[in-house]
């Protein structure tokens, strides 16, 4: 590998750098991902043996001088009640049982917790997106807002807001707001920022020639916003929405930590960690990962639905 093309995909390596790359086949794209995932799983099982061996020998196999074979040891470390590191199939089984064996409204059912968290996330995401849109439209149209507000919007994100979650909950709780809304407020705080920044960029993205055309049509500022700026900003908006909904989910989960909430993935994490139930902690984590992926996929679907209806120029600009 002495050519500077080593960084290009393997298929492109024989070509002159700069020539258009052929699209990678599906196999070439998923192969590496599968390999990495498989490697992670193998390492996980091995790490579980190493981490759990001590406890397994002490508690299950009858002390270090007991008679046990290596096979027994491995089997024990992969099937412990309270392992230091549970193995993937234990976690999968735990989720499966919690979803299968309990009714949907039982606090032992992970789906209930996932639904509670998803509600708060989606509400916060909706509020945050609306706020972000309003702020961006204001900032693009008023210099005062841009100068006085934009620095604070940036600064607001350097505040570790999740640390403030307990207070927001206390304040809103004493005002009589409990349940979903306080969590949604925290999710909103994390959601609005990426949307604001991306929309300010997006609303300013139309070319001079396009704005001039609108001017010759004697379009008002609102007409220009509706027919030119907003459509032009869509490709900027959706990547920001994906970031926002993931951030909102983290916000909702952390907001469930300090309240002693009965339901929600965060509450589940906290109770499991109090009782030292490691398998449950991991399954709550995995469930939140799945929920995060599902929510992001939802935004992706929305993106495809919206951008298909819009002009090919919007699709041409779409990068991801």
């Amino acid at each position: 590998m002495t050519t500077p093309t080593a960084t290009l995909p393997a298929a492109a390596r024989t070509r002159r750098p700069g020539a258009p790359e052929p699209a990678l086949s599906w196999g070439a794209r998923t192969g590496p991902v599968l390999a990495v995932t498989l490697a992670v799983l193998v390492l996980w099982y091995l790490a579980a043996i190493a981490l759990n061996a001590h406890g397994a020998i002490e508690r299950v196999l009858g002390g270090p001088d007991g008679a046990w074979s290596a096979t027994q040891l491995v089997q024990t470390t992969w099937a412990m009640q309270r392992p230091i590191l549970p193995v993937p199939h234990q976690i999968g089984l735990d989720i499966w049982h919690s979803v299968r064996d309990w009714p949907i409204d039982s606090p032992r059912n992970l789906l209930l917790h996932a639904r509670t968290t998803a509600e708060a996330t989606l509400l916060g995401f909706g509020l945050g997106t609306a706020l972000g849109l309003l702020l961006a439209i204001g900032i693009v149209h008023a210099r005062t807002l841009e100068k006085a507000l934009l620095p604070w919007i940036v600064a607001s994100q350097t505040v570790p807001v999740l640390a403030i979650a307990p207070i927001v909950l206390v304040v809103l709780g004493s005002l009589g707001f409990t349940g979903t809304l306080p969590k949604a407020v925290i999710a909103m705080y994390l959601c609005f920022f990426p949307v604001t920044v991306a929309m300010v960029q997006g609303l300013r993205s139309p070319q001079r020639i396009e704005t001039e055309l609108f001017h010759t049509y004697a379009a008002s500022r609102w007409q220009a916003l509706w027919a030119l700026r907003l459509p032009a900003s869509l490709p900027h908006l959706f990547p920001a929405l994906r970031v926002a909904i993931a951030a909102g989910l983290v916000g909702a989960i952390v907001a469930e930590l300090p309240t002693g909430a009965q339901a929600g993935l965060g509450a589940r994490l906290l109770t499991s960690s109090y009782y030292g139930n490691t398998v449950q902690i991991w399954s709550a984590l995995l469930m939140s990962a799945v929920l995060g992926l599902a929510l992001t996929a939802l935004v992706g679907l929305l993106e495809r639905a919206v951008l298909r209806r819009h002009s090919p120029t919007a699709q041409g600009k779409l990068k991801s």
Binding site: T7, W152, P160
Partner: protein
């Protein structure tokens, strides 16, 4: 600005004195307020209306404060009516409004003394409108580069002062929203405690975790630069982690590494690793084809291309990741302390004092954490400008 098309490209064609209408409204409010009492004083038989108009209030605060407030508001409103304000006039307007607001805060009675009346509120409304005018005026002024943040700072100052005024005038319970003054007092009285918390959380957990996490992320990103297979395998997996709330590993970290700072540092490492990796990979792929072909035509080795072209191009991406990570690291360490910590640390302080309803101290802790976050962000920004001085985006801003 005078070109008609300028009005479409984001900049508005404004009258040269923004806020003149607000100034008229403020003047009207002030005139309206004159006949009304400022304060309802608690007498022997409950509330007795102060017979005097608000600017002659005598029992609670010295009358001249009220007089001065009214006068300052009036002069400021008249100043705000001027069509073409210069720097001096804007400064005078700001100072007068500030004085009027200070007077109002000084006039506000405590709960035992009584409550504020309608005259007070009308005057407060006038001052609020004038405050908006000052922000608009300062934004419109052509200021030198050093004073870029002037209007934002002014806006922040108004928010703080009105927060102080409204929480005391409405007698908002401290548990809900303590006035800024009480937070400042808490900062002062608990300075030693907060310093220890800062050393515990930021000095140990955040710093060590941040350096390790970002270092590993950038290092792995550069290390697998030659291995496209690993790159294509790792990048999607790393991107997936951004949708996973990694903060959730905090309880596991506490189980594995104990209650003290190593568990927090572990959470921080995990949270900062992936953004740093993604930023590095994206940055290394960002060099343009033209530049790469140039290096190719110079017969530059891979290492040379990496050092002279691709790493410099990647730096803005890496710095972005570092900035995002600064906040992430703080959040990670503080949230991890909710799951168990020694009796010191910012997260510990927030959760225990919140449960004891000692809100001024909680807010003081938040002020400290936010100050650290902003400081880290600002420092990274300066470092980036020093390192990336050649970059078009930086040059455009300078």
């Amino acid at each position: 600005m005078s070109h008609p098309i300028a009005s479409l490209s984001g900049a508005r064609v404004r009258p040269d004195a923004p806020g003149a209408l607000l100034a008229v409204l403020a003047l009207a409010l002030l005139l309206l307020s004159l006949p009304y009492p400022a304060l309802q004083l608690a007498g022997e038989d409950g509330f007795t209306l102060n017979p005097l108009a608000w600017w002659a209030v005598q029992a609670v605060a010295p009358g001249w404060v009220a007089w001065g407030t009214g006068l300052a508001t009036g002069v400021a409103a008249l100043l705000a009516l001027r069509a073409t304000p210069g720097r001096a006039a804007t400064l005078a307007l700001t100072l007068l409004t500030l004085a009027a607001l200070g007077g109002l805060i000084a006039l506000t009675p405590t709960e035992e003394q009584g409550a504020v009346g309608s005259g007070f509120w009308l005057c407060t409304g006038a001052v609020a409108l004038l405050a908006l005018v000052t922000v608009a005026r300062v934004s419109a002024l052509p200021l030198p580069r050093g004073l870029d943040a002037a209007s934002a700072l002014l806006f922040g100052l108004w928010v703080l002062l009105f927060w102080e005024l409204l929480t005391t005038a409405f007698a908002v319970p401290r548990v809900l929203l303590p006035p800024p003054s009480s937070v400042a007092v808490a900062l002062w009285t608990h300075a030693a405690t907060l310093r220890d918390d800062l050393v515990q959380t930021v000095g140990k957990a955040v710093l060590i975790g941040y350096v390790l996490g970002c270092g590993l992320g950038v290092g792995v990103g550069i290390a697998i630069d030659r291995l496209p297979f690993l790159q294509r395998g790792l990048l999607p997996v790393a991107s997936l982690t951004s949708t996973v709330p990694l903060v959730g590993v905090a309880p596991i970290a506490v189980m594995w590494f104990g209650f003290d700072w190593p568990s927090k540092a572990a959470v921080v490492v995990l949270m900062t690793f992936f953004p740093a990796l993604i930023g590095t990979l994206a940055g290394l792929a960002a060099a343009g084809k033209l530049e790469r072909e140039l290096m190719f035509s110079y017969a530059a080795s891979d290492r040379r291309t990496l050092l002279d072209l691709r790493l410099p191009v990647a730096l803005p991406f890496i710095f972005n990741a570092l900035k995002v990570n600064a906040t992430l690291a703080l959040i990670g360490a503080i949230v991890a302390e909710f799951f168990g910590s020694p009796t010191v640390g910012l997260g510990f302080r927030i959760s225990t004092e919140a449960s004891r309803m000692n809100m001024p101290l909680v807010w003081a802790t938040i002020v400290v954490a936010s100050a650290v976050g902003m400081l880290a962000y600002a420092l990274l920004g300066r470092l980036e400008r020093r390192v990336n001085f050649w970059h078009p985006a930086i040059r455009a801003a300078a």
